[in-house]
């Protein structure tokens, strides 16, 4: 009895939710367009750690509470990034002389920097939004990070 009543209620709910909470058209459009941003000639450095997903206790234990830090990794390169007001502080491991580009969503390069002998770099970043880094090292294939929001 309840099962039948629930099935009827479930169908009513389906109808209400489809009318009131459809997938927004801009999400569908964005998703379809996103194929254009796939990597063509670069390895992915995947976002492996994000302090935003850590518990506060963990962050306190690491002494990183309040600072957003991100770690990306490809097969051969680790990229640590700290988000500071108006800038990203980064570190390549192993240390390498490289050009690091900050890409924004339309594919433009918003900023670029050279890493120093210790693999450190600093990139100015304006406002919030989605970004990714592209790391170019002489004699090695390009590496691109996952997209990240700040």
């Amino acid at each position: 009895m309840n099962a039948d009543a629930n099935d009827e209620l479930f169908e009513e709910l389906r109808s209400v939710l489809h009318r009131t909470d459809p997938v927004p058209a801009e999400v569908t459009d964005f998703a379809k367009t996103a194929l254009g941003w796939r990597r063509l000639d670069a390895e992915l450095a995947e976002l492996l750690e994000d302090s935003a997903l850590e518990s506060e206790a963990h962050a306190l234990a690491r002494g990183t509470a309040g600072v957003r830090s991100l770690t990306f990794r490809s097969d051969e390169l680790t990229i640590d990034v700290e988000v500071q007001p108006g800038m990203l502080l980064g570190q390549l491991a192993p240390a390498a002389a490289a050009t690091i580009e900050l890409q924004v969503e339309n594919g433009d390069v918003a900023a670029s920097a050279e890493s120093d002998a210790l693999g450190r770099f600093r990139l100015p970043v304006e406002g919030d939004g989605r970004f990714r880094l592209r790391v170019l090292r002489p004699g090695a294939s390009a590496v691109e990070t996952s997209w990240f929001s700040i």
């Binding site: 479930f10 709910l13 909470d21 997938v23 999400v27 964005f30």
Partner: protein, 185 residues
């Protein structure tokens, strides 16, 4: 094309194949992005990031049959990240008790029928977990229990019983609302 073929074609740049993937899974991604009671605007951001994650990983998917579960897991993680970074308008479940559950003018305007409004109000009173589960279940004609389990971090065997319990609660809230309005008496 089957799922495996669609993924391979999309990874090679086939826009039509990619569009088909988006259309097949966007209901699942959207329903998951709306979990943690994120607003439509926040959920849109989460859903977009989820699609970018899939684009990043298109050439690395080894088990096509697990794509739905992967998308749900990814959308859940991105929803959590968004929540940690930006918070949300409703800070706690307690606050919900005192908020009008129907506060989006668009949503109210679309609910012409009194019965719909009652159902929507009742739905808004459900726990976040029930809301997400029911959103996921109605998002597709044949929902993948594996994906739903991933989206909710719930054992697959618990989905059926939980669905029943959530619908029981929903029916109770609908009944209480109707009684308050005195319509049925």
């Amino acid at each position: 094309m089957n799922l495996d073929q669609l993924i391979r074609a999309a990874a090679a740049g086939d826009q039509a194949a990619w569009n088909e993937l988006v259309e097949r899974f966007q209901g699942l991604v959207w329903a998951t992005a709306r979990s943690f009671r994120l607003s439509r605007a926040d959920a849109a951001d989460v859903a977009q990031t989820t699609w970018l994650r899939l684009v990043e990983n298109l050439d690395r998917i080894r088990e096509p049959e697990r794509l739905a579960g992967w998308l749900a897991t990814t959308a859940r993680r991105e929803a959590l990240r968004h929540l940690r970074l930006h918070g949300r308008e409703l800070a706690s479940d307690e606050a919900d008790l005192f908020e009008s559950p129907v506060d989006d003018p668009l949503e109210v305007a679309l609910l012409a029928e009194e019965r719909d409004t009652t159902l929507w109000r009742a739905f808004a009173q459900l726990s976040e977990r029930c809301q997400t589960l029911l959103r996921l279940l109605v998002s597709e004609d044949e929902p993948s229990y594996e994906a739903i389990g991933a989206a909710l971090e719930m054992p697959i065997g618990a989905i059926g019983p939980t669905r029943m319990r959530c619908l029981d609660k929903l029916r109770a809230f609908v009944g209480a609302d109707s009684a308050l309005q005195g319509g049925a008496a």
